[in-house]
């Protein structure tokens, strides 16, 4: 929104003791609300309204049609598998980046964000090249469910790493030393001390990765394709649009929308819980809030 400069003597100046260029007050709020409405709220409201144009019965019919259910189930199961895999490897990677020393560590640390920066369609193309029919490694699982899982692992990798990393960084290592001096082994220390401290980050990272996986489109498209067994919900929605069934597309969209809203809400609950229990710093909250859950490359 355009900030209106000095020509607006901000009424809040006396209250806050500073004068910022016309932000605040009704004008500022109005412009923000207007921008958000045009860009975000009206389009989403249009989808919701479209989904229910034929009444709630018709909506339900669309959502429970065999192909819609199949795609939703597939999306859900693949996303669950993906967050388990990335929860495991993401925690290991975060641990390596914080606690270990090895050559090239700073490069590895930077490369972790690659899936945020690389366009999803490019990710799909190179995964297809690497793990498709012409695989130089001799591994071919393109156009299978494994391909969906691998593509989703690729795009959601940074979430867990970046959510766990700040917690590991600030963890008080004296607790671990104390436990070790009392005779605890590595596994016990991990289970009783490290893991509980990482839990809020891990949970938030997993929730964000899950939300992203549910809606992912580009990275799955070329690599897993849209054959009847590999049609995830986002591909299903695209197919419905192309075949002119906008209500069906909108209905499945509403299901995805509600699911991701619930996940986002759970992330903010986790954050509040973590702050209350002094288990997350503001660093952690910032790190988690800045993660992009929806599509493509950033």
């Amino acid at each position: 929104m355009e900030a209106h400069p000095a020509n607006l003597p901000a009424p809040t100046a006396s209250r806050a003791g500073l004068r910022l260029p016309g932000i605040g007050t009704g004008v500022g709020n109005g412009m923000v609300v207007l921008y958000l409405s045009i860009i975000v709220l009206l389009p989403l409201a249009a989808v919701a309204s479209e989904a229910f144009t034929g009444g709630i019965g018709h909506f339900w019919e669309q959502v429970t049609s065999p192909l819609a259910v199949k795609s939703l189930k597939l999306t859900l199961v693949c996303s669950l598998i993906v967050v388990v895999i990335n929860g495991f490897f993401g925690t290991i990677l975060a641990w390596l980046l914080v606690r270990d020393r090895f050559p090239g560590k700073s490069i590895i640390n930077a490369v972790i964000d690659l899936p945020f920066a690389l366009p999803t369609i490019v990710a799909s193309l190179i995964l297809l090249t690497l793990y498709g029919a012409d695989s130089p490694l001799g591994i071919d699982f393109a156009f299978t469910r494994t391909a969906i899982v691998v593509a989703l692992c690729f795009v959601t990798l940074p979430f867990v790493v970046r959510a766990v990393q700040p917690l590991l960084l600030e963890m008080d290592r004296e607790m671990e030393a104390a436990a070790a001096s009392l005779g605890a082994g590595n596994f016990t220390i991990f289970r009783r001390i490290i893991f509980p401290n990482l839990l809020p980050g891990l949970a938030a990272g997993i929730a964000l990765a899950f939300a992203r996986a549910l809606g992912e489109f580009g990275s799955v498209l070329l690599f897993a394709g849209g054959n009847p067994d590999t049609t995830v919900s986002s591909v299903f929605i695209r197919n419905q649009v192309e075949s002119g069934n906008e209500i069906g597309a909108a209905a499945v969209s509403v299901v995805l929308l509600v699911a991701s809203l619930l996940l986002l809400a759970s992330v903010s609950l986790i954050q509040r819980w973590a702050i209350r229990h002094d288990r997350g710093s503001t660093d952690f909250v910032v790190a988690v809030e800045n993660k992009d859950v929806s599509g493509g490359g950033a």
Binding site: R19, I39, F89, V111, L114, I121, S234, I237
Partner: protein, 266 residues
């Protein structure tokens, strides 16, 4: 946890092995595949009329969406941090929406809103084409990249506080002067980080844009759409060539992210 050498190596092999198979080898693959038959074919593909048009259109998306979302982002962050209001939690939640919504759903939402029978269908009927044209693609790009600048600016604004601005205004600076001379210089790295993320997201967006654009060769194709079309038309060299351009931009993004993070921390 003082991991013994064996478990330390175990973790290294697991973690870095996973990263290698998932990220590093694919990254090398793009370079290898693009130049497999020399530099000529990929160069021809990118410099073909359709390729150049896609590149231009991608730049146009950035040129429109990034400034708009930056101005909105800084203004909105100021509003959220400096002026407590009952609306703030609502605005905050709405700003997060583009992060939560599938790109395909974003594309569909614009498709329904501006398509025939939609609430804003009249705009197209007046002769100003939104769907299957550049305006729709711009709207999709703005939608998907909306939160970044706000999200990056809010924490920085919270951190710098208002002492210096107050000092400036005591010394007679007006609101606009205080903003340009005090506030903006203090938040610039945070804003810049948000701008980098916004740009990368706009350049790479596929799902939302593909639904609203129709991906017409040489008309409504951004680079990511060009990649998909080239691949679908069995011109994989063209697809790899355009992919390499996008991958290089992604690497520049990573570099800029790291640089700006360091500046911010400094």
């Amino acid at each position: 946890m003082a991991a013994n050498p064996a478990s330390r190596w175990g973790l290294r092999v697991l973690g870095l092995g996973y990263l290698t198979m998932l990220l590093l080898i694919p990254l090398v693959m793009i370079f290898y595949k693009t130049f497999e038959e020399g530099i000529g074919p990929p160069l021809d593909a990118i410099t073909s009329p359709d390729g150049l048009h896609a590149l231009k259109l991608s730049v146009l998306m950035v040129a429109i969406a990034v400034p708009l979302n930056t101005i909105f982002g800084v203004g909105c962050a100021l509003l959220l941090v400096r002026h407590k209001s009952k609306l703030n939690p609502v605005i905050d939640a709405v700003i997060n929406l583009p992060f939560a919504v599938s790109p395909v759903v974003i594309g569909l939402s614009l498709y329904i809103l501006y398509g025939s029978g939609g609430w804003f269908a009249f705009i197209g009927e007046e002769g100003f084409k939104i769907l299957f044209a550049v305006p729709g693609m711009v709207l999709a790009s703005i939608f998907v990249s909306l939160p970044f600048v706000v999200r990056e600016t809010v924490p920085v604004l919270q951190e710098i506080g208002t002492d210096q601005e107050q000092a400036a205004s005591t010394l007679g600076a007006n609101g606009w002067q205080a903003f340009w001379k005090i506030t903006l210089p203090s938040i610039r790295w945070g804003v810049a980080y948000g701008v980098v993320l916004t740009t990368a997201r706009v350049l790479g967006e596929f799902g939302a844009v593909t639904i609203v654009s129709g991906s017409i060769n040489g008309q409504t194709q951004t680079l990511p759409l060009f990649v998909e079309k080239q691949y679908a038309n069995f011109n994989s060299t063209g697809a790899y060539g355009a992919s390499l351009v996008l991958a290089l931009l992604a690497l520049i993004t990573l570099f800029a992210m790291n640089l700006l993070k360091r500046k911010e921390d400094a």
